[in-house]
């Protein structure tokens, strides 16, 4: 049941927990979830993120994250971190303060970047600062 899902933004062992959730479960989380495959193509995109960004999932799913969906993350602070982790074969779990341009308005957010060696899906989690 969707109501039973409760994950905190800073939950430990997050990637594996997200992998286990259905897309409907992801939609109930109060932070944005973007799941990308090894080619940076968006495979998962939850309702919270869709609402924040103002983009319907069908505009985003199967598109490359760093060019079509979120070019603002295509720098050494975000995209480079994923690349470095993939190259060194190490796990990535960093939380950074960032500014996204959701609906063209600068919004302070916390980004949590998750990647594990061998895992099919890597995640960008987005939580708006309040």
């Amino acid at each position: 049941m969707a109501e039973s899902v409760s994950l905190a933004f800073d939950q430990a062992d997050m990637a594996a927990r997200l992998d286990a959730l259905s897309n409907a479960d992801l939609d109930t989380l109060d932070f944005g979830v973007i799941g990308i495959d090894a080619q940076d193509t968006v495979q998962r995109y939850n309702a919270t993120e869709s609402r924040l960004a103002g983009l319907a999932p069908e505009r985003v799913l199967t598109h490359p994250l760093f060019t079509v969906v979120a070019p603002c993350m295509n720098n050494f602070m975000v995209a480079q971190r994923f690349e470095d982790a993939a190259q060194s074969g190490e796990a990535l779990d960093d939380t950074i303060d960032y500014v996204l341009t959701l609906r063209m308005r600068p919004a302070k957010v916390k980004l949590r970047l998750l990647a594990a060696p061998g895992a099919a899906t890597r995640y960008v989690l987005v939580k708006r600062n309040v």
Binding site: V99, M104, P106
Partner: protein
Amino acid sequence: MEHELDIGAEYEALMQFLYMAPVGLVQSDLKGEVALVNPVCAQLLMPISPDGTLDNLFDAMRGVAPDLLNLVESFKPSQGLICDAMRIQVDAGVRGKVDPRVFSLSLVKLDEARLMAVLNDISQQVKREQLLKHNEAWLNAIISGITNYAIVSLDSHGCIDDWNESIGRVTGFTAEQVLGQPYSIFYPRGASTPDRVLDRLRDADLQGWSLDDGWRLKADGSRFWGTALIAPLTSPGDGSEGVAHVNGLALSGAYCLVIRDITEKREASEKLRQSTSCDHLTGIANRRTFFEAADLELERLRRAPRPLSLVMFDADHFKRINDTHGHPAGDAVLRHLAMLLTKTFRAVDVPARIGGEEFAVLLPSTGPEGALVVANRLREAVASSTVEVDGVKIQYTVSAGIAEFEEDMVGMDELIKRADTALYAAKAAGRNRVERWQKP
């Protein structure tokens, strides 16, 4: 309801348009407080923003452009362009490893409350520009260091689009005389045609260069023997028009023409050329050279259709001349005819001896009317001159047949056959005549 749905979808499409726009866009107030900002702008600014926020454009760029607030405040008009593609050096890079990062910033004052900014990463462009300057310096050093080459920049139509000292040094022409002129200005009259000017450019496109040796013209009307090399100016991996500018000021055009004065080497190179491509007795093109030239002209004609005429000449009663005055007299007549052919036709035409007393002239970019005029001029020149052999004065005449190449022809043989038919008609009609081929 349906209307509202459409607006919703349109809004979303516009939003994504701005998300994906590959250029940074910001709207702020005059103090730099950001109202709207797109993702590429955040991508560019986040790494350089001292406090890691994008609340204020001027604060975010303080580290690389501290003067922005001043710049905006000192702009008094109520609206207008405050700065246009101002270059901002973001970092110095690491020599040979990391390119320096450079942004370009344009600021537009919309009114007393709003500012629009366009931000772009132009690091690659700046890198290319520096490479260009480097190449340019090299080229300038080379161009000013050599003395017997003229290096000429040509546009895509073969017109001279730039001037440098090497042109003046080798040809004596001034910038005013050559700029905008086709490069055939360096060729003596009759040694090129507007079609041929373009042909050489196409040849260069296809095989990477086009080379020809021959007489070249100086501004004072004198001639020198020179090679002319044409090469297209393109860059690997990029065939766009803009890349034609790759080689900098001296060679900003689409092609590079290098003319080299080889008058001193002419004798040696001409001797070699003559031994393989010229008829021993008369010194004009031999049969092989004629067919090679015809082949090339047919290929050019297929690429860019234009008229092509062929004139066949035959010395009248040649057998009688031989029988009456002997073979040396016959040879003298053939040499005389060859000399008149070379003198009468243009340098771009190809007169050749293709049989015993049979001569052919190929006239590129010329229709049968034009060919008729020159053929008659030749006929009259022959009829009014005298060849003297061992004190004996010989007079002779020629007949000629003219045919024009037509699209449905298979090849050169058909054209020759028609010209031969016309030549036979001229003979049959009494000799010392020129006839055009007529449809039977």
